[in-house]
Every structure is written in C-alpha cells, then in structure tokens.
Amino acid sequence: MDKQLAIKASGQRFGFNRRVRTVIISIFLLGIIIGIFIAGIFIGDDAMAVDFTRKGIRPSWEYPFGTDWLGRNMLLRTVKGLSISIMVGTVASAVSAVLATIIGIAAAMGSKWMDSAIGWLIDLVMGVPHLLLLILIAFACGRGLTGLLTGIAVTHWTGLARLVRAEVLQIRSQQYITISRRLGKSTGWILLHHILPHVLPQFVVGLVLLFPHAILHESSLSFLGYGLPPEQPAIGIILAESMKYLTGGMWWLAFFPGITLVLIVILFDKLGENLKTLLDPYSAHE
C-alpha cells in the first residue's frame, strides 16, 4: 500500500508518467519533421531565385544561412532540400520495411531450404559494399529519382529482415500457436491473427530507424552525382556544389545544410527510440 502511494506521488510530481511524456515527445518530434516537409513543399521556385545583387552574403538576420555565389537564399534551399530528403527517405524506408517484414516472415515460416536461401541472399546483399551496390543500381536505372528510390528501397531490408525472422521464430514456438494449430486453424489464419500483430511493433520501429540510414545514403548518392538532377536543391547536391567555393572562404554553404541534415537524422533516431519504449511490452508500462 505504502509502495503504491510512493509510486503515485513520484509520478505526479512531474504531472505526467513516463508513458504520457514519451507520447508527447514523439508527437513533438513528428510535428517538427512534418513541419519541415510541408514548409519545403510551399517553397516555390521564385523563392530560390537568382539575384546577383545579394551574392555571397555571410549569415545574417536577413539571411540566417547566408546566400550563395548566385545570390540564392541558402535557408530556403536547405529547407527545400531537407523536404526532398524526408520524402525520399520515407518512401524508400517504407518499401524497405515492408520487404523486410515479408522476407523475414517467409524465412521463419517457410521450409528450411527457404530459410537458408534467404540467409544466403542477405549475405549476398551485404557482401558488396552498400554504397557500391547503390551506385550499381542507380547506374542500372539510368540515375535520377527512380534509381535513387529503387536502390535505397531494395538494399536496406537485410537488418530488419533478420530481426523479424528471429521474432517470428520465437513466436512460432509458443504454446498458443501449437494449440491454435491443433484447433484446426490454417497457417494463413495463424499468420494473420497471431504473428502479424506481434511483428507490427517491430515493423513500425524498424521503419522509423531505417530512415536515418536511408536519408544518409540518399545524400551520399546525390553528393556523388547519382541522385537527383543538379537543379534540385537536395542536400547532397548543395554540398557537392559548395566544394568549389570552400577555398574562397564561403564556409556557410557547407556548414548549415550539413548540420541541419544531421539534426533531422538525430530527430528520426530519437523518434524511433521513443516509439520503441512505447511499443515494447516490457518497457511500455515503466
């Protein structure tokens, strides 16, 4: 009785318990990301207009990220670039997470032959350096957005697929699955009603945690010149362009776009961690 009171009191001191606090933080993080994404959509082409009367301005109140050698506003370009990155990252990691879930379940539920074949496939995908595989796929698709999306989507599923496989293997050996089978339920029914609900949290967390990898690879490929066309202000392209002007002392061209990209990646990482604590049944009620 005393103990319960003490727990209650410590929870009420902050106003919320940890669960509510995590939910609020997650919504806040998601809000920032969606905000940047929407802001990027509303930035039209005229906002990034070339204006030689204001070229090469250092960061100031009027232009917080400065302007480049063509007088384009770097803050607007950066937000637009982040918006593109968020879009590419979301689509690619969603496809990748779905792939990973299907392959992971197939490995765990299928025959032994299937399992070792999938293990071999995972080794194959991981055997070629990731960036090199992305370059090859981008090359096969003739560069551009299609190659970028395909490449990132089909190469990021390996880690999550292994996780899902391990999870499903564990669930499969549970007693209630055996009972369900004995009661005459089909494999499909068990998959839908017993296994998928357990894999769903892994899927959501895996999806969000895939995002940082996807966005980092997107910017790396764009930086190397394989991603979006050069007139698009993707972060990788902005940074690749800035290289020519660094020796001239225009440090802000590289510094601010890069640091905001790092911040977005950290935001997604934090969001993933928060979702993990919420969805994991062991830590959800702490």
């Binding site: 090199l132 370059i135 590289a254």
Partner: protein, 338 residues
C-alpha cells in the same frame, strides 16, 4: 580432443570458402545484369570523343565487343575472360582495368588501413573509458558524441575537416595523394602521409563509434560479473582488473568487429576519396559509374566484394579459432557483428 577440434575447424573453413565462392559468383551475375540494364549505350559512350563515326563503324565496334550476342553468352565470355585474368580495358582511362585496380588499390589500401587501425585504437580506448566509468559524466558525454557521429554523413565530416584544417588553419593540403608537379618516384613517405592524414582522419571518425559502443557493452558485462566482484574483494585495483579480465575479454570482439566492418570502410572511402580528390578505388568507381565505364565499374565491384568477403572470413576465423572457448560447435558461415 585437440584433433577433433582441428577437423571441426577445417570443415568450417571449407564450408565457408564454398559459400564465399557461390556468393562471389552470384555477385558477378547481379553486377553484370545491373550493368547491362543501364539505358546508356556503351558504344555511344565509347565513340563520344572520337568525332564522326559512321553506322558501319558502330556496328563493327558492337560486333567486336560481342554486344550482339545473347546476354548469357556475353556473361559467360566476360566471366571466362576474368578468370583468365583479363578484366577488359577501361573506357574512361584507356588502360587495362586490372592495372588501374592494382595501381589505385595501393592508395586506397593505405588510406583504409590507416583509418582502420586509428578507428580501432580510438574506439577501443573510448569504449574502455566508458566501461570503467559507466554511468558517470565521462561515459554519458562520450556516448552522446558516438551517437551523434553515427548520424553524420561521411562526406560532410570530410568537408568540415577540410574547412577547419585546410582552409582555415592551412595545416593540410586540399587534395591529391602527393604534391602536384613532382614525379611519382620522388614523393617521400612523409609527403604521402601528409596527404593521407585528413581523409584517414575523416574515415576513422565515422567508424570508431561502433567499436566504442560495442566495447563498452562487453566491458560493462565483464566488470559487473561475479569474478570481477571477487577480484575486487581480494583487493585488486581497477588497472589490475582491466589487465587481468577487462582487456582479455573485450579485445577479441573488438578486433572481430573491425574485420567485419570492411564493407562500411569501403563505402566510406568512396565518399572520403571524392571529397579530398584522393586517387584511389573509391574515386575511380564513382567516376566509372558517372561516365558509364562498365568494365571498370564491374571490375571494382567484384574486387570490393572479394575484399569484404576476406574481411568476414578473417572475422570468422578469429571468432571461431583464436578464442579458446569457441571452436567446438558453432553455426557456420554467418558474418559476425553486422
């Protein structure tokens, strides 16, 4: 007993080598298919700089290259040529691919090994510091730095280093593996190291976080075990405990992890070499892709896969053979620490 273990080990190695062979073969198929899927016409790419070329000449080139043959035949021709040691001629550099790879791999190898050793030492040391003072402010600061470093793109870190050390402080050169205007044989080892420093530093900063976090985890497990508690009760100080228990239990996993990280190292070197215009395999492969130099692109892909599989192979051997506790029975053929 010892004999049985030896047999087990050689069996495992044989099995793994077979797996690597099938994987390499599959890599060559996948790479070949991807390269031939490209909508870019190789003949067009080849004759681009040559001025006027008639349709008959184009036809002659594609006939000479065997482009009119069915894909399986083309693949088999290519594979048998590679097995005979002929990797073709690079369209971009107009030199044999094998020669370019050999020439540039020396540069890339120097870069990767420097950063590999550097990141191993930094990562292991930081991991030990975090483990010993776990839960203290040192631990949380280093942990935070490691987590942030995981979110930093390699090429941006390279740009920041370039800004700070080359442009602002002027300590290091902007690019290239040797000074411009000096014959290759006259370049001293110090000049080479001087040009290697920044790219190597960038690469090692990207990869030490992984080792550090892993070592920390292992060390915390060790230091909170019963035998360390007993050692403390006997009156051993922290340094003695680290010497007797800490290092022995954490060094091997750290080294294994380092060997298994060859793939990431290679990917990172592509970016670092492009930032610092360092003439290695990484800058060659991105140039090959951008200029549709298929022989070079395929050659480097196969070579890098071979490199990664050797790293995983060494990791497996260390994990399975060197560690006396393991080696009896173990599921084979899995890469460690991915």
């Amino acid at each position: 007993m010892k004999r049985k273990r030896l047999i087990n080990i050689s069996k495992a190695i044989g099995k793994y080598l077979f797996r690597v062979l099938t994987l390499l073969l599959a890599t060559s198929v996948v790479a070949f298919v991807l390269a031939s899927l490209s909508p870019i016409d190789p003949v067009q790419q080849y004759v681009m700089g040559a001025g006027a070329v008639s349709m008959e000449q184009r036809e002659a080139i594609s006939e000479y290259w065997g482009l009119n043959a069915p894909p399986t035949e083309r693949y088999l021709n290519w594979l048998s040529a590679i097995l005979r040691g002929d990797m073709g001629v690079s369209i971009l550099y107009r030199q044999p691919v094998a020669y370019i790879i050999a020439d540039r791999f020396i540069n890339t190898f120097a870069l990767m090994m420097t950063s590999w050793i550097l990141s191993g030492i930094i990562g292991f040391t930081l991991g030990c510091i975090m483990g010993i003072w776990r839960g203290k402010w040192v631990d949380s600061i280093i942990k935070r730095v490691c987590l942030v470093l995981c979110s930093v793109p390699t090429f941006w870190l390279g740009l920041v280093f370039l800004l700070i050390f080359s442009v602002w402080l002027g300590w290091f050169p902007i690019g290239f593996s040797s000074p411009i205007g000096i014959a290759d044989s006259d370049v001293s080892i110090w000049q080479r190291l001087y040009h290697l420093a920044l790219p190597a530093l960038t690469l090692s900063f990207i990869s030490f976080a992984n080792v550090a976090m892993h070592t920390r985890q292992k060390l915390v497990d060790v230091l909170e075990s019963d035998y360390v508690l007993f050692a403390r009760a006997r009156g051993e100080d922290t340094w003695t405990i680290m010497k007797r228990h800490g290092f022995r239990n954490t060094l091997l996993p750290a080294i294994t992890l380092q060997f298994a990280s060859f793939a990431e190292l290679f990917g990172g070197s592509v970016l670092a070499e492009n930032v610092f215009s360092y003439p290695g395999l990484g800058s060659a492969v991105s140039a090959a892709g951008l200029n549709s130099d298929v022989p070079l692109l395929l050659g480097i892909t196969l070579f890098s896969a071979l490199f990664v599989f050797s790293g995983n192979f060494i990791a497996n051997i260390i994990y399975g053979v060197v560690d006396p506790r393991i080696g009896e029975e173990r599921p084979h053929g899995q890469a460690i620490g991915d």
